[in-house]
């Protein structure tokens, strides 16, 4: 039985890796197509039907490009940085549940049915795990910026360190309201607590703070100061080329997926299709594939939202960014926390 469980875990890990990396590749395609649509252009449409093979062409090109290590760079750290970025981005996804799971005997090969949950690891404090691992992601960026031995990279790295520490506070505080209502840090329990009503409705202020902070945490526009093109060339990955550059990009998109999945888990009701009413009496045991479909559809919508915002809003100035984080979002998150806990205690 133990071997079966280990086998299932390995298959799940492989599946998640494959799906996430494919998704990352197609997110870059989606970003280019959607930005083209928003700017009234066509975007990549030559490779394959509708340009759908473009990510494969890009990947091949990345592999065959020359891998440059700049002179004066700190070589071990320079090589380590993108790998660190990508690894922390991917392992954060391990605790995200996408459905209830199902019982199976593997076509009669097992004597008794075994339960297959739709997440890799069911950790008691799963939410804290995601926060902890994503907070490690900043090292990749900071290291990349520092070890490149370039002014632009260093500035990008420093900015990113300051930005991520600042916004992690409001991110964490905005989540506590959700934890207080759900009464658990297990993502599974948090989603299950949203059967009656999504947390988006009682926690709309928390959701706002969470979304803004996660845009800052993923270094996306309007908060992409660490890689602001007009001022810093490309920020922390200015000196990077070839596959290392690609790894930074993959880390960014994986972080986007994590942030979207987390938003869906915490505020958008996870696998419940509508804001009210749970499953309307559908037999979930039988149709176990429905929750993952709903969950993934929501994640896709969130990803689209991320891309949409990027091509709609202009970039903040650095002092504006810091002011927004400390003087607006942080007090709002505290206010949300106080109001939520007061309601829970007194009502």
């Amino acid at each position: 039985m133990l071997w079966v469980e280990i086998g299932i875990s390995v298959v799940k890990i492989a599946l998640v890796l494959f799906v996430v990396l494919t998704l990352v590749a197609y997110l870059s395609y989606a970003e280019r197509r959607i930005s083209a649509f928003i700017q009234d252009r066509l975007g990549p449409n030559r490779v394959g039907p509708f340009g759908l093979l473009q990510p494969i062409a890009d990947g091949l090109k990345f592999i065959f490009k020359e891998d440059i290590i700049p002179e004066g760079a700190n070589k071990p750290f320079y090589i380590l940085a993108p790998a660190f970025s990508l690894v922390t981005a991917i392992i954060a996804l391990a605790v995200i549940p996408i459905g209830y799971g199902f019982n199976t005997t593997f076509f009669g090969n097992l004597n008794e049915p075994i339960h297959v949950s739709l997440q890799i690891a069911d950790i008691n404090a799963g939410l804290l795990y995601v926060l902890a691992i994503t907070s490690l992601g900043v090292y990749g960026i900071v290291l990349g910026g520092w070890s490149s031995n370039s002014k632009y990279s260093l500035l990008g790295g420093i900015r990113s360190a300051a930005q991520m520490i600042s916004y992690e506070l409001s991110l964490g505080l905005s989540i506590i309201g959700v934890i207080a209502i759900a009464g658990s840090l297990r993502l599974y329990d948090i989603i299950d607590a949203q059967a009656k009503v999504w947390f988006l409705i009682p926690q709309c202020l928390g959701f706002l703070v969470f979304m803004v902070s996660s845009f800052a945490e993923t270094n996306r526009l309007p908060f992409d100061l660490p890689e602001a093109e007009p001022e810093l060339v490309a920020g922390y990955h200015t000196e990077y080329s070839s596959m290392k550059f690609a790894m930074f990009y993959m880390a960014e998109y994986t972080n986007m997926i994590t942030a979207s999945a987390l938003a869906v888990c915490l505020f958008l009701g996870g696998w419940f299709p509508l804001p009210f009413g749970g499953w309307f009496g559908i037999d979930i045991e039988k149709y176990w594939y429905l929750p993952p479909i709903v969950f993934i559809a929501k994640v896709f919508l969130m990803l689209f939202f991320f891309i949409w915002v990027r091509w709609t809003l202009p970039r903040f100035r650095y002092d504006q960014l810091m002011r927004l984080g400390w003087k607006v979002l942080f007090p709002l998150a505290v206010l949300n926390l106080i109001v939520t806990s007061a309601i829970i205690v007194f009502v």
Partner: protein, 169 residues
């Protein structure tokens, strides 16, 4: 299985701390400290302190060490620090052996006095070490110390603001 995990992460934490105290480059020192803190977090999980382990990664590795790294990069301390590391090797060895001797003495004395010698790592029932268990103790028996830490943090914030605002000229 647990034995292997213990030895692997004990070794990485010791290696990390050795690099921390011996490397010339402050950034390398900071990163090796992150390695040590992370391996200690894994050991905390082996000791069933799940909440502490996650807090360790979140606060220590995720915030405190980033602050260190930020300062090193902000001051742009490259390898210039190696020039003034002038303690001689015999002196270093002397200090190290003295420390070893003292702590060996205390370990020896301590192990004789503490009753649960040779105890294996016990597996406690579920709320032990989880958010629920720690939270319950923290907000009942240790409520006052917990509240007092907030005073400490306020004092630290005020101190930092005062230090940062002051101009020396």
């Amino acid at each position: 299985m647990e034995t292997i995990i213990f030895y692997v992460f004990a070794a990485t934490s010791v290696i990390g701390s050795l690099v921390l105290v011996s490397h010339k480059n402050p950034v390398a020192s900071a990163l090796s400290l992150v390695l040590t803190l992370f391996s200690t977090a894994v050991l905390f999980i082996l000791l069933l302190a799940h909440f502490i382990a996650l807090i360790q990664v979140l606060v220590y590795a995720g915030a405190i060490m980033v602050l260190f790294l930020f300062t090193v990069m902000f001051l742009n301390l490259r390898d210039e620090s190696l020039r003034f590391d002038a303690v001689k090797v015999p002196v270093k060895l002397g200090i190290l052996s003295l420390l070893l001797l003292i702590s060996g003495y205390f370990i020896f004395i301590g192990f004789k006095k503490i009753p649960p010698l040779n105890t294996m790592v016990i597996s406690h029932p579920e709320p032990f070490g989880t958010v629920e268990g720690v939270g319950e103790v923290l907000f009942s028996d240790y409520l006052l110390p917990f509240e007092l830490t907030s005073v400490l943090i306020v004092v630290a914030i005020l101190g930092v603001v005062v230090i940062a605002k002051r101009r020396f000229d």
